[in-house]
Amino acid sequence: MSVALATEGLVKRFGDRTVLDGIDIELREHEVLALIGGSGSGKSTLLRCLNLLETPDDGRILLDGVEIGGPGTDLDAVRRRVGIVFQQYNLFPNLTVLRNITLAPVHALGLSRAEADERAHALLERFGLHDRADDYPASLSGGQQQRVAIMRALAMEPEILLLDEITAALDPVLVAEVLDTMRELAQAGVTMIVATHEMGFARDVAHRVAFLKDGRIVEVGDPRQLFTSPTHPDTREFLRRVTDAGRL
C-alpha cells in the first residue's frame, strides 16, 4: 500500500517552547494510526500542522509524495484533502445540521446544492441522524453534534481524516456512540490519524499506535505489541499510569 502522508523531522515552536521536536511518521492508505500520550505531548499540534492550521518551523510534510506547506502552497486545497475534526465540535450554530454538512462542499468544492444535499443525506442516513437534518446544533446532544462534525468533514471526501481527541469533551455515556462511528470509518477503510485518550479504541481499532512525549515519538508499533510489551521505559510508565487510572 502506498504512503498517503509522511512527515520528516517536523518541528514546531511556540515562542521558545518546542512543541514538536523532529517528528517522523508514515501513514499508509487505509491505515488507522492512533496517537497516544499525555496532555501537552504534542498530539494536537501535530494534527494541526498536518492540515496546515499551524505552520511548521522545520521539516517536511509529504501528501501523496508531494511536499506541502512551503511558501506558495494553496492551503485551502490541502485542507480540502486533509479533513480534521476537533475536540469541541465547532459546528456552525446558525445553520441546520444539513447546512453544516453542505456548506463546504458547495462553496469549497463547487458542488451544486442538489449534489451536496445528496451527499449529506447519504451520510446522515449511514450514521443514523437522518431525522435531525433540519434541526439546529444546539438541540443535539454532544455525541450527536460530534457525529455531525465528523460527517461535515467526510462530506468533503478527504483523502485523510484527522481526529483530534474528539471524545474528550463528551459525557462518558456519549463516548460510545462516537467511538462506534470511528470504528465504522476504520472498517470502511478511511485513512485516519486519531489522537485519543481512549486506549481501548487505540488497541482494538488502530493498525499502529504511536506514543508521544515532549514533542517526540517515543515508540511506534503494532497495538498488541505496544500495549502488552512496550520497549521504552517512558511508554511503560505512561501505560502503567493509564492502567492505574482505570482507562485501559
Binding site: N51, L53, L75, D76, A77, R79, R80, G83, I84, F86, Q88, N90, L91, F92, P93, N94, L103, A104, H107, A108, L109, D135, Y136, A138, S139, R152, A153, M156
Partner: protein, 283 residues
C-alpha cells in the same frame, strides 16, 4: 437574621412567581398600576399651574389642527432616516471589515477606520449637521448638491456609521475564533469563512444593538430642523409660532413615539427569540 433573609427571599420568589402565574398576578398588577396612575394624575391636576400647562401643551383643538401637518412633515423624517440607515448599514460594515484586516499591507485602511470612528463619535451630531449643512454648499463646487436635506442625511450617516461600525466589530469579536478555524479547516478561504460563517453569526448578535442605534438615529432626524428643513420638529416650531401654543411639540413627540415604540418592542422580541434559538429551545 437568617429568618429575615429567608423571609426576604420568599418575598422575592413569590413576587417572581406572581409575575408568571396568570390571572391573580395580572389582577394585582393592574390594580397597582391604576392606583399609581390615579395618584400621579391627581397630584398633577391639583398643581397650581395645571390650567396653564393644559392650555399651552395639551390643547386638543391646537393638537387636532396641527397634527395632520406635522404627520405630513414627518414623512421627511422618514425619508431622512431610511436613507441614512441604508447608508449606515453598508458603510458601518465596511469600516468594521477594514478594521478586522490583519495583514500589514492593510495598515492604512485599519488606521483610517480607527481614526474615523474616533473623530465621528467625538463630534456632536448637531455640530456636524451645522458644519456640513452650511459649509459644504458654501464651497459652491459644481456637482456638489446644495440641498440641506442631502447634507443633513450625510451628516447623520457619517455620525451613526461610526457607532454602527463599533457594533459590528463587537459582533464579530463575539464569534469565537474556533468558528473561523472550523471553516478554514474545511478548505474555505478567509473571505468565504468571513462571509459564510463569521458575518452571519455576527449580524445575528448585532441586530438588537443595531436596532437600538437606529432608534437613536431616528430621533436625531429632528436635529436637521436647524438647517431649515421642514420636518416634524420644524413644522411644530412653525405651528407653535403661529398659534402661540406649545401643543404642536407634543404632536411631534407623539409622531416620533408612533415609530420608535414599535421598533423598540420589535427589538425586544428579536432579542428573546434569538436567545431561545441559541439555547436550543425553539426549532
Amino acid at each position: 437574621m437568617d429568618d429575615l433573609k429567608g423571609h426576604r427571599r420568599s418575598l422575592i420568589v413569590s413576587s417572581l412567581f406572581a409575575e408568571r402565574t396568570g390571572t391573580r398576578g395580572a389582577i394585582v398588577g393592574t390594580i397597582a398600576t391604576i392606583a399609581v396612575l390615579v395618584l400621579v394624575g391627581w397630584l398633577i391636576t391639583r398643581s397650581s399651574g395645571w390650567q396653564v400647562v393644559q392650555d399651552q401643551f395639551l390643547n386638543w383643538d391646537v393638537f387636532s389642527d396641527s397634527f395632520p401637518g406635522i404627520a405630513g412633515a414627518f414623512l421627511t423624517n422618514v425619508i431622512i432616516f431610511l436613507s441614512a440607515e441604508a447608508i449606515v448599514l453598508v458603510f458601518g460594515l465596511l469600516l468594521a471589515l477594514m478594521r478586522s484586516l490583519r495583514a500589514p499591507i492593510f495598515f492604512p485602511l485599519r488606521a483610517f477606520s480607527v481614526i474615523y470612528c474616533d473623530v465621528f463619535r467625538g463630534i456632536p451630531a448637531i455640530l456636524l449637521i451645522y458644519l456640513l449643512g452650511f459649509g459644504a454648499p458654501a464651497l459652491q463646487v459644481t456637482g456638489i448638491p446644495r440641498s440641506p436635506l442631502f447634507w443633513g442625511i450625510v451628516a447623520l450617516s457619517l455620525t451613526w456609521s461610526a457607532y454602527v461600525a463599533e457594533v459590528y466589530r463587537a459582533g464579530m469579536d463575539a464569534v469565537p475564533p474556533t468558528q473561523e478555524a472550523a471553516a478554514r479547516a474545511l478548505g474555505l478561504n478567509r473571505r468565504q469563512a468571513m462571509r459564510l460563517v463569521v458575518l452571519p453569526q455576527a449580524v445575528r448578535h448585532v441586530i438588537p444593538p443595531l436596532l437600538n442605534d437606529f432608534i437613536g438615529l431616528q430621533k436625531d432626524t429632528a436635529l436637521i430642523a436647524v438647517l431649515g428643513v421642514v420636518e416634524a420638529l420644524r413644522q411644530a416650531q412653525l405651528d407653535s409660532a403661529a398659534t402661540f401654543n406649545f401643543t404642536p411639540y407634543v404632536a411631534a413627540a407623539v409622531m416620533f413615539l408612533l415609530i420608535t415604540i414599535p421598533l423598540t418592542r420589535f427589538t425586544d422580541w428579536m432579542i428573546s427569540r434569538d436567545r431561545r434559538r441559541r439555547l436550543g429551545v425553539a426549532r
